[in-house]
């Protein structure tokens, strides 16, 4: 399975986003979400980074 980079971001405003696990969701302001980098780039200023990237693929873990 290919590694998918997920990044934890905080929603700044209500917006529709594509979640890697749950499909299209409605972001709730001030709530954290794990989204992939391409989706975060698409959302632009609707979200802000809250912590460094975390890999979702278990084979990257020790």
């Amino acid at each position: 399975m290919a590694t998918q980079k997920l990044v934890c971001v905080k929603a700044r405003e209500a917006a529709k986003a594509k979640h890697p696990l749950f499909g299209e969701i409605q972001l709730v302001p001030n709530v954290d979400y794990d989204l992939d980098e391409a989706e975060i780039k698409r959302l632009g200023k609707s979200v802000e980074l809250v912590k460094p990237a975390v890999a979702s693929d278990s084979d990257e873990q020790e």
Binding site: C8, H19, F22, I25, V31, D32, Y33, Q61
Partner: protein
């Protein structure tokens, strides 16, 4: 001045049955609409509403095995079918990196238990579905029995404090929130909005079997009076005058018809006596304006020697007839 000399009275003479199927969310997760314009209340044809959720049992409790919970036997509604759930255990999988994880315990239409993890967060849980640290959005084919909220990546026995089963928040209950059935427009309205815990996000599936009335004209009918509310003024004398109050009551509806070959014995409407029927009255036969309502049909037959046989009918309704322009 208009008269009802060309009026038309119709009654519920038959019904179209809609088999158990999903109702449509009107968009507020509170009111769900059906394919019927009216719900029939005819004996044996009343709506049978079955929202997905737990009917009985299916309680989640702790288990001595690490990362495992016990689920008691019970029954659930899934897509309108009553499904038996056998008592069992269900393991959960903790996240490898972040400790704060919410795992939903579910059961499907085959009675099979499963665990679906949300996304883990480093330091906090969230009540928001699909959020980091929040519960998952689930398939619409499963019923959520409850949630397990773990705070560590290390395997351990699940504590009772980590099991959450608040109805309409963590757990889907078939009969909570309750609902009212709107016979006048073929919809149901829950007393509170349903949680949106399924992929979409959408609320649980609400299924129902119901019948829509079909109308036939009652020929040779006259003197229709709808079920209507009346207001009464009451007053009580006091030393310096009187104190007034008002009360309301529902008047019984009525009409008369003159039977033909049935002689008031085998006429189609007579065979429906003491049944709860819908009625429509059009003051102008060719128009669309009408009154609509339902009630239990009562009949009083008269067989005079020197006049026509007549049947005086009463309509004992639980609500006033309503006005419709089309």
């Amino acid at each position: 001045m208009p008269s009802a000399s060309k009026g038309k009275l119709e009654y519920e003479s038959s019904r179209t049955l809609y088999a158990m199927g999903a109702l449509t969310d009107s968009g507020d997760t509170t009111t769900f609409t059906s394919s019927a314009a009216l719900f029939s209340r005819y004996e044996g044809s009343e709506p049978d509403v079955r929202p997905n959720g737990v009917i009985s049992g299916c309680e989640i409790t702790t288990n001595t095995t690490n990362d495992t919970v016990s689920i008691s036997a019970g029954t659930v509604y899934v897509a309108g079918a009553e499904v038996s759930v056998t008592a069992g255990t269900q393991a959960i999988t903790r996240d490898g990196s972040n400790g704060y994880l919410i795992t939903s315990i579910t059961v499907n239409g085959s009675g099979t238990l499963a665990a679906t993890a949300g996304t883990a967060h480093a330091s906090a849980h969230s009540e928001t579905r699909a959020a980091s640290g929040g519960p998952a959005l689930l398939a619409t084919t499963v019923v959520e029995l409850g949630q397990i909220r773990t705070t560590s990546i290390t395997a351990a026995a699940i504590l009772s404090s980590e099991i959450k089963t608040t109805r309409n928040v963590h757990r889907e209950d078939a009969f909570f929130p309750g609902w009212t059935e709107n016979d006048n427009d073929g919809s149901i309205t829950f007393v509170a909005a349903l949680m949106e815990n399924h992929t979409g996000p959408v609320p649980k599936v609400v299924s129902a079997e119901y019948s829509e009335p079909q109308f036939s004209e009652q020929i040779d009918a006259v003197d229709f009076v709808p079920v209507e509310q009346s207001n009464t003024q009451n007053s009580t004398s006091v030393y310096n005058g009187s104190v007034g109050s008002s009360s309301t009551s529902l008047n019984q509806g009525s009409f008369t018809f003159y039977p033909r070959e049935g002689n008031g014995i085998t006429d189609p409407l007579i065979t429906e006596k003491d049944k709860n029927l819908w009625f429509k009255f059009f003051p102008k036969r060719s128009g669309t304006r009408h009154l609509k309502g339902k009630g239990i049909l009562g009949v009083t037959r008269s067989y005079p020697a020197d006049n026509n046989i007549s049947v005086a009918c009463t309509i004992s309704g639980d609500k006033a007839f309503t006005e419709h322009a089309s």
